[in-house]
Symmetry: C3
Subunit: 221 residues, 3 copies
């Protein structure tokens, strides 16, 4: 296990909460939600994955309702989006065609960062709770996917994980890499962040190139 | 802590389950569900918040599946809506314009009552489980919001908490008031119910006056 | 309790995961999801009910993320649907009218089988965890309903349990039968499978005959 697990874990969680909360808050602004709706959606996106992870591991109450630092990260992310949106909006008015496409792209990049950080963090927490290797891989993947999934379900969108490009695969692969590093005694702060980077890059490449996994043959609606 | 926590808690839970189950059952009738669909939606709305609370606190099995009094309250609420709906419908026929608006208003008032009762009840249970002050505030808020949120997600509606008027704020404020009263040693059955009343009144005023929190600047669809 | 509880339990769970995962994967193919989306939806449908059951009973981590046999059953079901869909599709092309109706019927039959198996399995696990008779009935019902409900919520459909025909009733009745058999000391592998068969037949008859429970009087939209 990491010698400095606790601090690495906290940094990972703070980064993950912050970027996922940004994604949730931006979706909230697009939906015309008010300040508190934006904060709620930021909280759901930022802390939902960690809450599912903690419930699966029997860690009660989940850190998503008990750790003020994580809550503060989500609130700050929501406030930043709320305050800066007007400025950003004004700039975007000059290029109206590119506007919503850019918002959508920004949300997906933030989502990719959250996915990467939480997949690694989820696997680390599961290993720390002695959940077993297989459970650590799956809980890592679910931690990465969970916040974005709850965000999308609450706003009536098809979750990213069911859309076309690779999404669950990099999350599960990142968590698996953490488990392998742990088994090999090679899990350090550096290698944990390398795993984060690999998940992020894989996901970004998938979004940019619109990489699809094979689909079943099918025609018609 | 309350000297008579257990009985206050039970009364709060029974009231909360009953009014939320009424709201769920009415939504079920509007959707044209049959008797059992109505009962299921009443159960989800009435007991969903408490189930989330218990899962977050590690209380297993959740009271929503184990306490026959709460289950009976939800079933009775569902049956009342099912049986009385025809009568009420006939009366409403004479004022067709006002009809759905009134149903919607009734559901929101019942939802406000459930929100108030469960926010206080959730905070009390969390304090009783020694979850810490911050977790008690958030778990209280989530307990208040949870049942209505699950009801709305299952019926494909945008959850109330993401709509315009103040919703999460009164729930969190009510739970925070309970925590403050507890810290100050001033938590009694009376003050707990005063907290319920404050949340309810705040939410009702928000619905009636259509009070909005500020929204981010935004134009277009 | 069963003398061979563990093996009966495992067989029930494997069958339930497999048929529910088939249902989820077929829904995924209909939605045009790629291979990994299909596998995710199969996993959600196949293991969602058991995960809710385990969370309600405090069994952590849930078997849905820790038992490789159940995960393998879900993956195999997803791969079968993915690989065979093209062949089946080609055959269906010759009878285009019947096509989607048949897919829908197949999904509902698989769903009925999963409902039956998991209602019984959920009640057994709850009894084994000493959750009490009432909780065992409700947790059994929820285990049966959960996977299909999550599948439908994620794909934006109205959950089966809120549609017209009997759905929650056979699940709860099957779980109640298991509890009664347990109390009477008559719970064996044979009687458990008879309970499964009764739930399945009731549900299939409800689908085929389009049996509805009574609906509240109601007109207009």
């Amino acid at each position: 296990m990491l010698t400095d697990t606790a601090s690495t874990q906290l940094v990972l969680d703070l980064v993950g909460v912050f970027v996922f909360a940004l994604s949730g808050a931006i979706v909230g602004v697009r939906r015309g939600l008010d300040l508190f709706g934006i904060l709620v959606l930021g909280w759901v996106a930022g802390l939902g994955g960690g809450i599912i992870r903690d419930v699966f591991l029997g860690i009660t109450p989940p850190v998503g309702v008990s750790d003020w630092r994580l809550l503060a990260a989500a609130v700050v992310a929501g406030l930043i989006v709320f305050l800066l949106h007007g400025t950003w909006q004004a700039a975007a008015e000059r290029h109206p065609d590119a506007r919503w496409r850019r918002v959508s792209f920004t949300v997906r990049m933030l989502d990719a960062a959250g996915l990467a950080v939480f997949a690694v963090s989820g696997a680390l927490v599961a290993l720390g709770a002695e959940a077993g290797a297989l459970a650590a891989v799956l809980i890592g993947g679910i931690t990465g996917i969970g916040g974005g999934l709850l965000r999308d379900v609450l706003t009536g969108q098809v979750p990213e994980v069911l859309r076309r490009e690779l999404y669950a695969v990099p999350a599960l692969a990142g968590a698996a890499l953490v488990v392998v590093l742990h088994e090999a005694g090679a899990l350090t702060t550096l290698t944990a962040w390398i795993a984060v980077a690999l998940v992020f890059v894989t996901r970004v490449v998938a979004v940019v190139l619109d990489l699809n996994a094979p689909r079943a043959l099918r025609s018609g609606p």
